[in-house]
């Protein structure tokens, strides 16, 4: 969403640093899935409609079978018509994970996905992300949780804005 102040951003070997706004939007929409620390669900939409939200922008048709699979993947069966305020923090984050996957992205960017969750829910969300990675998705997690980081395939440590280990 921002332009890099220095260096380049390459995706599949292509420099996307200077992409115009429209191409960047398409890139975010089709290539990435985002999971935020604070979930950012629309409070007036049900679980099901929150998951559908990215389809509104991509214009892709609603694939009920795939959405059912996502709901099952994140363990929210039976809660499709719940509103976000009727869910726990862990459940809300799982809705956000399902939402990030609805456009079938190759890469998932998760910014502190367990930052607002207790240990049990953190574990559950992390397991989902690991499973997605095993299924072939690239999952990039930003976290302050060293225990969680220790369980990933690859770690890049940044301290005070400087990469200290790769």
């Amino acid at each position: 969403m921002d332009s890099p102040s220095s260096g380049t951003v390459r995706i599949n070997g292509e420099d996307v640093s200077n992409y115009p706004d429209l191409k960047r939007t398409r890139l975010r929409r089709d290539f990435f899935g985002f999971v935020f620390q604070q979930f950012y669900l629309i409070p007036s939409l049900t679980v099901y409609k929150n998951i559908l939200l990215p389809l509104l922008f991509s214009g892709k048709p609603e694939d009920k079978g795939y959405i059912g699979y996502l709901i099952e993947l994140v363990g929210l069966n039976g809660k499709e018509s719940h509103l976000p305020h009727q869910l726990s923090g862990g459940e809300m984050q799982r809705v956000a994970v399902a939402r990030a996957l609805v456009n079938r992205p190759s890469c998932i960017l998760a910014d502190e996905p367990t930052g607002n969750l207790d240990s049990q829910n953190s574990e559950r969300v992390f397991e989902i992300l690991r499973r997605l990675n095993e299924e072939g998705h690239t999952v990039i997690i930003v976290t302050h949780n060293n225990d969680l980081a220790a369980r990933t395939n690859r770690r890049i440590t940044i301290r005070d804005g400087v990469v200290v280990s790769v």
């Binding site: 969403m1 706004d21 429209l22 939007t25 398409r26 975010r28 929409r29 089709d30 990435f32 985002f34 935020f36 604070q38 950012y40 629309i42 409070p43 007036s44 939409l45 409609k49 559908l52 939200l53 990215p54 389809l55 509104l56 922008f57 991509s58 939402r99 456009n103």
Partner: protein, 321 residues
Amino acid sequence: MGILSLCLANLLRNRIRFLLALLGIAASTAVLFSIVSFHGGFDRALSRELAKTGVHFMVVPSGCPHEVASLILHGAVIPKFLDPSIIEKITPSEQISLVAPLLVFQSPNNRRQMVDIIYGLPMNFLNYLKPHWRITGEIPKADNEILLGYEIASHDGLKVGDRYPLGDLAKPLVVAGIVEKTGSQDDAYVYTSVKKAQEILKKEKAYTALAVQVRNPERLSEIIEMLTSQIPGIQIVTVSQIMNSLSMVANSAKIMSLSIAVIAIIISAVGVMNTVLMAAFERRQETGMMRALGAGSQAQARLHCFTYLVVWIAQAPGPLG
């Protein structure tokens, strides 16, 4: 899920604010509708009323002719009379079908402790001059008979056949008929023959104006030109000129009321903008989230436009109702 349902869901998140915005817009739209309707209705009513007079033009004393003719049409009093010789010069002819002398004046009524407004006119011309009237009783035929406006009759509880004193006349006059409610100034007058009106005024051959109907309205300007050149000292005002004169006065009121409507619309537009902008500012993080999920600038603009649209559509039933 479509963009409209997303807009509606967003708006309903703060129902009170949404409702207040709707009320504001509905009120201003209602003001606009009522003012526009009033203007349309006023013009139509004015045209209708003037058409109902059955008169093509009026010969009035010199002065401000439009105002005078307008005042006479509405029964007001002017302290100026036509030269009696003019009455003899303008008579029915090949071109003129009707000439009705009118005499309008105020007369104190000591018994009623009020002032009567007396409208003297030839009673046999009443059907031409006031064709839309409905009369209980009958049009006065005898010289000692009068016709009462609705308000006077209802105020004094008078019925057909009752007696009504006028001016300094020794004998009260007989109520031959009562005009049914017209909702206009006509309800407040006492109608009598011109001769009896002159007797009450104590001015023989006093006339306030001549109401003239022509046989062929297409030749109206030709007839007016002819009369003006043949009879010096007269002023002729057509009904359309009277309407224009009244319209000019009304236009000032129209401009003012339209200004109010415009202000109301601006206030409501600002209200809608406020509602949408507040919703947008409150959800800046959500906006960022939507951008991350693939909403481009166009999608975001569409979302805001649809939000405006939903607000406008939602308030429409109010003023339309």
